[in-house]
Symmetry: D2
Subunit: 294 residues, 4 copies
Amino acid sequence: MKTIKPLRDKKDMATLLIHCPDKQGILATVTEFLNQNKGNIIYLGQHVDRQEKIFYMRVEWELDGFSIPKEKIGDYFETLIAVPLQMEWKIYFSNHVPRMALFVSKMPHCLFDILSRYTAGEWDVELPIIISNHETLKPVAERFGIDFYYFPITNENKAEQEVAELELLKENNIDFVVLARYMQILSKDFVQNYPNNVINIHHSFLPAFAGAKPYHAAHERGVKIIGATSHYVTSELDGGPIIVQDVTRCSHVDTVQNLIRKGRDLEKIVLSQAVYKHLQRKILVYNNRTVVFN
Amino acid sequence: MKTIKPLRDKKDMATLLIHCPDKQGILATVTEFLNQNKGNIIYLGQHVDRQEKIFYMRVEWELDGFSIPKEKIGDYFETLIAVPLQMEWKIYFSNHVPRMALFVSKMPHCLFDILSRYTAGEWDVELPIIISNHETLKPVAERFGIDFYYFPITNENKAEQEVAELELLKENNIDFVVLARYMQILSKDFVQNYPNNVINIHHSFLPAFAGAKPYHAAHERGVKIIGATSHYVTSELDGGPIIVQDVTRCSHVDTVQNLIRKGRDLEKIVLSQAVYKHLQRKILVYNNRTVVFN
Amino acid sequence: MKTIKPLRDKKDMATLLIHCPDKQGILATVTEFLNQNKGNIIYLGQHVDRQEKIFYMRVEWELDGFSIPKEKIGDYFETLIAVPLQMEWKIYFSNHVPRMALFVSKMPHCLFDILSRYTAGEWDVELPIIISNHETLKPVAERFGIDFYYFPITNENKAEQEVAELELLKENNIDFVVLARYMQILSKDFVQNYPNNVINIHHSFLPAFAGAKPYHAAHERGVKIIGATSHYVTSELDGGPIIVQDVTRCSHVDTVQNLIRKGRDLEKIVLSQAVYKHLQRKILVYNNRTVVFN
Amino acid sequence: MKTIKPLRDKKDMATLLIHCPDKQGILATVTEFLNQNKGNIIYLGQHVDRQEKIFYMRVEWELDGFSIPKEKIGDYFETLIAVPLQMEWKIYFSNHVPRMALFVSKMPHCLFDILSRYTAGEWDVELPIIISNHETLKPVAERFGIDFYYFPITNENKAEQEVAELELLKENNIDFVVLARYMQILSKDFVQNYPNNVINIHHSFLPAFAGAKPYHAAHERGVKIIGATSHYVTSELDGGPIIVQDVTRCSHVDTVQNLIRKGRDLEKIVLSQAVYKHLQRKILVYNNRTVVFN
């Protein structure tokens, strides 16, 4: 339920994300393909990793007037461009609004931040369900009119509960999952259902202080700066591709409680910035690192 | 209506904020006064402005066991300490929960951020009323169960509407006002009713880009960093004492719309940080500048 | 005199900087031109300002194996590409090491920073002369073995001295000038000899506190963050295109002297980062704003 | 050899650094002691760690007019104040200019930054000797007129060379040592000669990427922010009390070489800021953490 929906310019757009071994002429080939078919490019970002010799590209163009019918673009691109150039690629169409599920536990700050943006119409996303291992935040979900599902997790029922959660995600046609301070580790099996589509927020400047209680560890170590890290979840705990990081200063006057309080502001902004980049299709993952286009 | 109220350690505390001409022994005199009367100091901050020769101090102590009865502390302090040392001072007691009113217009991001913190119990504050010159955000206020008052403003009715607003504030025993992107300039008369108790957020790094449309001006000037500034409102537009500022990087790729989007995150955090400092009684104002204790 | 010269990979490169009215196919046209002539592109950056409808591009390629002889590239590019597309463009060759002149007054921190980088071989630049309106820093120049020229400036002799300075710059084939805290305003005439080739450091976060004594003004205003700004000099004081800005936090405890001390670290880094970008030919100026490529 | 020596206000000052178990009245006791003996306090900083129940204090006062002769202050303070309150304390007198030794290897940026500040008179310090395990930077030392000592280190001669280095430090009455990118680990024995008086710069945001090649590791991990950390050296590698940290943003476009280049600017500023705080006697160490006064 969005109450404050801004008017939006909803031209039909297509976005291609590409990576492939680098060689001369890739960029010209792709832009020529779009130009010749009358695609008006409105954004083009490219990057070459000289060391790994990988070419990355993101291009967005208007579908209005494009010679190739939308449903055939993928097929044509695959045959004419991708196969000869050994590309891996994905295409997205702006008229598909992505569907997001939130996982939360007890802390409300990231949940509130996401619900506020959703309700204010900041993001082009649907948010049909919130899933939690506690009932604490049910009143928040209700207040914003989002369905809330309670899946208590124990060592014994974890596998089974994850199966039920996955089913619920499929039923709701969920495209990606956001862990908004969800204090449970998802199993490898679960994550493999959504590769590069589960976004987590970790409350430290990774790789420092991975794992539990990072603010306590930061205080113990006497650091002068604390941070937060959003990343895609992989099978390695807090080891997935980093999307956004930010930091704030602290000092000897800060207790652990202060660090936790300051950290909340970092966490919610860093997580929401990652979700925004994800929604814009501006992130490519390769070799456990992200390319995040402007 | 707060749904997620954390347990809080609610010992009775008193907080003194003091400034006076600097001379030897002030700090010893004040701490002696508290020690001799068995006040357990749990926070002490002091600062001397060498140039202006002003002494600033904030001290917080437990009332439990303090020899002077709470209602007489002010009297004793005035006579024994403040008059001889030419102090200006204020005392606050932790058992009075401050009462805040919000003024908003159409943009919801600061409102949502404040309501989220209020609901999550991050702040020790009461929030009985929201006032607006537009009806746009009424559904948000209702969703959080806060009374919403609509005061449309025209050149003709402004003075009269402000009188009505002030009446409403008095009826609700409002201690301080937060302008959460309220797009109206309050009259000098209005502000004088709440000296150093009206907090505004300006969407630029003041004093750069005071006044209207700062993001447009920042884009036009081609700055590489944008900012936000929270300050107490005085009779001079965007000229009051600065409380908190923060900035974020931008570049030639950022359109005005991007700056506005990035700026929203700054604005809400910077405003909420100022409100938090204000609630903690950590701000002293002197000579149009703030002393913000740690 | 450079003492610590690192080995450098000195392949012959060409760099094109382009801007023109945006239309379909510019990028493909330029990359096709380079590809067909066997230019191995090693960097490509482009940006379209949708609002102003301007296309910006920077491309760098290896000259080794390029079909068009170096001395004819400009001619061919002008005829075949630039004229049809109404481009403004510049070409740079990596085998021309740019020649820089420094202007200083009495403060040594920016001078030391630049001389250190120069001596350490961080930059690919020649630095034949240092010019000053005071003799204070002559020993520093001598210590680094750079010729130092003293041009005292009065209201009466300013025009005449600038003529002499310009002559000295021409004799030394100076490509660009860096004002490393040079506390004199250069005349419009002087600057017009080096359009977008005079880099200044201003000790504030422009446009806040333009003009004299910005740290005093910042202290007076009670800001919580101070900054520094490097920009190209134009006829408008502190009004030229901004290249790099950076900031650091301050508080009520900071005296003007503290701000000056903290500011020095900002100034020297921000100025040197601007010089580095300039040396890399990564800056395009349009409409008093910069496009700074990654 | 300092060429640009600023005039400095050199009133005789004393500085006390204190920590002790917290209890009521410590602050009043110390300030009373100074007031009664006519010490004009010009700086007072205090902090209580509520969790560890430790009181920290730094106080600086003018010796002119102080009733207790300078050479007896320590004795009186110990007997009258420190013993009853179980204090650990140190006293410093401003007329003793601290003597610093630099250790370097091959990278010049931190060395240049320190020599520049020293020569410009930014710091009140003597710098009689530079020690290195390579001859690379000898010309830099010579240019600034500082004695340079070459101690090549092998696994075999390390213990013996350290003994010789220590002797040289003693001969030169060195108070503290700065490792300005010295790429050798000092032995535990060496460090114990200068407890909390060996300052190192580590080129990462500790505790992330401790040990060798942190920029390579940061690139590999795909972080979005890199940092630098200055700390006192202890027997644990990169594990000593942190003094200053700072960070800068990076992205997928940054190669390892770029990170190294960006990192140099961080390293030199962060190291010099730590040295400045150390020279000002503003750092207290307790429990492997620092209290850094404003």
